[in-house]
Symmetry: C2
Subunit: 168 residues, 2 copies
Amino acid sequence: MMKMKDNMAGQTLCPVARAETVVGDRWTVLVLRELFARNHRFEEIQAQTGGTPQMITARLKKLEADGLLTRRIYNKRPLRHEYHLTEKGEAFFPVLMALRAWGEAWCKSPREGRAMNYTHLTCGKPAGLGPVCESCGKPVRREDMVGERTAKYQKERDARWDAFKASR
Amino acid sequence: MMKMKDNMAGQTLCPVARAETVVGDRWTVLVLRELFARNHRFEEIQAQTGGTPQMITARLKKLEADGLLTRRIYNKRPLRHEYHLTEKGEAFFPVLMALRAWGEAWCKSPREGRAMNYTHLTCGKPAGLGPVCESCGKPVRREDMVGERTAKYQKERDARWDAFKASR
DNA sequence: CTTGTTGCTATGATTTTCATAGTAATATGG
DNA sequence: CCATATTACTATGAAAATCATAGCAACAAG
């Protein structure tokens, strides 16, 4: 699957082009979003991304092949896996944050409000949207932050889960 | 073209999902890369991305519709346009830089070397890959940096241009 | 008046995606 | 036991996107 000129990746030195052969796809990014949100199971990922099972299966396989995630058995008989980010996958965090910042700033009307708010544990204050904490100015790392969903966004996710469950 | 569940964008508060309906596509990102590299003409964009004319036409149209770029006439009769980033398009820069950093770090072997090196004009030293200058620690803005292609990458681009020109 | 340049559009084969349905392996409740 | 539920997928066929290749329109240059 997914030829997407994979050979081209080895033909260019451009890191953006290289990265895009791995993550240059809507579903892939949404799957990564869910993994960062600590949703590790197939069902949750499918429900929250809205993808068909094949889409999710294909992305998970490709992400595994590309080294961004590993399968972890959480139940044998029946065999069940959880999907966890590797170091390479975790390293994608800044991209997702930059995308988030751009999306909040340019793809929403202000009155819609935020989806999440992050607190910078190092200083205890809001981290804002940028690559450095808006409160203390230090670069933010994933492990120094806690994110909290806004009530509205949490409700939206709950509704998606319910709708997904109801449809089976 | 490109249905990609555009309506879903209005249905979710998630900024990542919103952003992905706009830029969640390999070609789109490569087109943006070229615009940031100050290549404003159709031909250059096509040559350096390797896309078919339809791909490029479609992405340029969608990017215009989404407000990331504007057409600017540089020649009437025959009518010719240049494509320039809007403020919204320019604002995408941090995402591209984050993607670049990830690509350099995780999608290449170290011996392949960098594609570009940026100098932070504010301090006059190398800016590195991160969101803050590796030399002076300040957050980097696009207008405070100059990028220079490495010899190898420049050669690669020249070769692509030549190959493109030779094929018509 | 022929050749070149630039920016596309047209065409048809191939590939991907989507919606819908179904399966496999097991747990759970009665 | 036996029916229903749970979880993680696979199968199928229609619809849409993508690809390679070719061609065209509007002029400029020689």
